[in-house]
């Protein structure tokens, strides 16, 4: 029951009524290295407390059931051991935010912020995702089976060998790859009709690093000013083949059919696209 003091004071919607972990332990079923957690009615913190508890108790695979909108799944695991998390079925925002090398599989649609500033690990979504997927992603891999929303891969980064990868099976909405500074993004357009073009506008606006491999049609006016279109060379094909194979393995699709489609490579035209705007 909500409590109201005589003066209004602070009502903490995140922390009010959060039950301590020991009270929630009955929800956690541990069987050797596999744990199962019933998420029904659990708040964000309560669920993530249990996940962390499960990891401490030795679980290497954690299955979450009855998940409806809990956020930050996988975030509170800055631990040396790696775990695998299965989410059934509807995670909330910031799934795998700041992910530290773990693996998360979602059997349903994800929401906004998947892989937000993710450092390493893998996220696989058997469905669609929302906005800002892979925002500021710095490493690891994300595979989304269907479509994604706005500002996907915004400000994705890479540095000598640590290269994040994002593969999307469907299409995306506007500002795809905005301000990319690094990383590999592959957009497959599998749900589109034969002559249907991708619907995103301002693709790669502000891009100054990284590469986008796009399968399907786009018109030049859909691309940001900083983007150049090229054909794929042998090196590119190796990369694309590798990750498309992985995608196909996750979702049971035909890799060869995908690879037979028309691919284009989008690269930034300059490393310093805003050099001329300012008067020094």
């Amino acid at each position: 029951m909500a409590t109201v003091s005589a003066r209004l004071g602070l009502r903490d919607m995140f922390m009010d009524g959060v039950r301590p972990v020991r009270e929630l332990l009955p929800r956690l079923y541990l069987n050797g290295q596999t744990a199962e957690i019933d998420g029904a009615d659990l708040k964000h913190k309560e669920l993530n407390d249990l996940v962390r508890e499960a990891a401490f108790k030795g679980a290497r695979k954690i299955v979450l059931r009855n998940i409806y909108g809990q956020r930050y799944i996988g975030t509170r695991l800055y631990l040396p051991t790696r775990v695998e998390i299965e989410v059934h079925s509807h995670p909330g925002n910031d799934l795998g935010a700041f992910l530290n090398g773990h693996r998360i599989t979602v059997y349903g649609n994800a929401q906004d912020g998947v892989g937000n500033t993710m450092d390493d690990g893998e996220i696989v979504v058997h469905g669609r995702a929302g906005d800002i997927v892979a925002m500021s992603m710095r490493g690891g891999k994300i595979f989304i089976r269907d479509n994604v929303g706005y500002r996907t891969a915004i400000h994705m980064k890479e540095y000598t060998g640590k290269v994040p990868v994002l593969v999307i099976g469907g299409t995306a909405q506007d500002f795809f790859g905005e301000y990319m500074a690094g990383g590999i993004v592959i957009l497959l357009g599998l749900g589109l009709g034969e002559h249907e073009r991708h619907r995103a506008h301002y693709i790669g606006t502000g891009m100054h690093g990284g590469v986008i491999y796009l399968r399907g049609r786009v018109e030049p006016y859909q691309l940001g000013k900083e983007v150049g279109v090229l054909d794929l060379d042998e090196n590119d094909w190796q990369i694309v083949r590798w990750y498309v194979d992985e995608y196909a393995a996750h979702f049971g699709t035909d890799a060869d059919r995908i690879l037979a489609g028309k691919f284009q490579k989008l690269l930034p035209v300059s490393r310093r696209p805003y050099g001329k705007i300012y008067a020094y």
Binding site: E178, Y179, Y202, T205, G206, Y274
Partner: protein
């Protein structure tokens, strides 16, 4: 009569740097510098110097300093140096003191007391570098409502829409006539307006025939009291037609173009004899009251087949709000208001410095009155009068303007240093002169690039400020005074501006 006047400027030459190249002698339009062959020395006649800084900029060794003359009268708060000089000059000539450029007196600059908002937390800034930021502006009359026909998925417009002019940035070039400025300067304005997608104003000097085909669609042509150069082709080749009732520098009186500046080609464009003074009458003789204005507006609409918006330009005076309301009801599509600090090629100094009100207050009053009467959307408001930077422009739009006219700023971009001697026709920068030797100094290719750079730089700055406020289209900041706060203003000023004090 022997002159008692002190020189205005002093010219200091560093002999250790002067290499006697005589560039200063060639560049000066007043004949200040001359080279003495016998002594191999440069001499400067200080009393002729007007302080335009041309010789200083062009001296290859930086040997010259031109600064206000060090001779001073005894300090007197009431009798300033300027008062002394003007009075003595009048005693010598018995004439009306002329001047050029805009009001230079210490009237409060309200732009410097208004600050803009930015988004923090409660709503996001929008990134002007990567996400679209729109400055496109429509000038003209808007209907109350649109009648649409909806058939399945197709929507078409049934109502007649009044003619509007589109500009890509809310900045246009103010009226500077060919005659007041040189042909080259005039053409530079036209070229820059065309390249950037905005408009320039022909002023009352007409539009030379050779420019009509190419630059007409980017011109606002003026129909002023002198009706100089107003022929049917002039009216029909333009983007909009402006009736000039007054200008900020000299409200209540007409234009002045001294005979020295009326060359052959000016005479042809204006259709007056060469060498005569082109002094426009104070009023337009067919407009003695508001209903006459209505008559002229519709006459122009008839003459242009109702295809162009008609603008009325007035100076900002005391009851500008009521006047603007009348103008809108008379049928004008655009109201252009020129404030106290508007520039000019020639005006009586006493009028430039003492008549009119600041544009900031005028704009706030007009915008508010038109909204109160429910007719704000029946016109676009263009404001002019001393805009120096892009922040001034954005603050004006936040107060309610649709777009801003820049005059002095455009000239400064081309090289002007506001020495206020435009009326002499001896502009060393080649801008306010008809002397072919001087006006050749403006190369339209280069000068128009300077102007385009100005527009581009300001437009980008406006985009950055808009993004900071969490807005990505200029129409959302128009009249949005909630994004302004006043600093260091009195209560009544905040009331008139309709703006809160910072922190309120």
């Amino acid at each position: 009569m022997y002159s008692y006047l002190l020189p205005e400027f002093t010219v200091v030459r560093r002999e250790d740097r002067c290499i006697r190249c005589r560039v200063c002698e060639r560049q000066c339009a007043e004949g200040v510098h001359h080279w003495d062959k016998g002594l191999d020395r440069m001499f400067s006649a200080e009393e002729k110097c007007v302080g335009c800084q041309r010789c200083v900029v062009f001296c290859p060794t930086g040997a010259l300093y031109v600064r206000p003359h060090p001779s001073e009268y005894r300090p007197n708060y009431n009798w300033t140096r300027e008062r002394f000089q003007d009075l003595k000059r009048q005693a010598e000539t018995g004439g009306v003191i002329l001047t050029g450029s805009g009001n230079d007196k210490p009237f409060r600059v309200y732009w410097d007391h208004l600050v803009l908002n930015a988004s923090q937390v409660t709503n996001p800034s929008i990134d002007p570098l990567r996400e679209p930021m729109e400055l496109r502006t429509f000038l003209g009359r808007k209907p109350d409502t649109l009648e649409l026909e909806v058939e399945d998925d197709r929507v078409s417009i049934k109502s007649e829409v009044h003619p509007n002019v589109v500009i890509e940035t809310p900045i246009a070039f103010s009226a500077m006539s060919y005659g007041a400025i040189s042909y080259q300067a005039f053409k530079s304005l036209a070229m820059a307006a065309k390249e950037f997608g905005t408009l320039f104003n022909t002023g009352e000097g007409g539009l030379p025939r050779d420019m009509r085909a190419e630059y007409g669609p980017h011109a606002i042509v003026q129909c002023a009291s002198g009706r100089f150069g107003v022929d049917p082709e002039y009216l029909n080749c333009a983007a909009a037609v402006e009736i000039k009732i007054g200008q900020g520098a000299k409200p209540g009186i007409g234009g002045h173009l001294p005979g020295e500046k009326v060359s052959n080609s000016i005479a042809r464009t204006r259709m007056i004899p060469e060498g005569t003074d082109a002094l426009s009458p104070a009023p337009q003789h067919d407009i003695y009251s508001i209903e006459d204005l209505s008559m002229l507006i519709y006459a122009l609409k008839e003459a242009t087949n109702y295809e162009k918006p008609v603008s009325v330009k007035i100076a900002a005076v005391h009851n500008v709000a009521a006047i603007a309301s009348g103008i809108v009801r008379a049928g004008a599509d655009i109201v252009a208001i020129d404030g106290l600090r508007g520039g000019t090629g020639a005006a009586p100094k006493i009028i430039r410095d003492n008549v009119g009100i600041p544009i900031e207050l005028a704009l706030a009053a007009v915008d508010r009155r038109l909204r109160e009467e429910g007719i704000r959307h029946k016109c676009s408001i263009l404001v002019a009068g001393g805009f120096r930077c892009s922040a001034d422009v954005l603050k004006a739009i936040a107060l309610g303007a649709d777009a801003v006219y820049i005059g002095s700023a455009a000239l400064v971009a081309m090289g002007c240093t506001l020495c206020q001697k435009c009326y002499t026709g001896r502009c060393a920068w080649g801008i306010c002169t008809q002397d072919p030797y001087l006006s050749k100094r403006i190369n339209p290719e280069i000068a128009s690039q300077r102007l385009v750079n100005l527009l581009r730089g300001w437009s980008h700055e406006i985009k950055e400020m808009l993004g900071g406020m969490g807005i990505n289209a200029i129409e959302s900041v128009r009249g949005n005074r909630d994004h302004l706060r006043g600093v260091g203003l009195e209560d009544w000023e905040l009331e008139v501006l309709g703006v809160k004090g910072a922190g309120e």
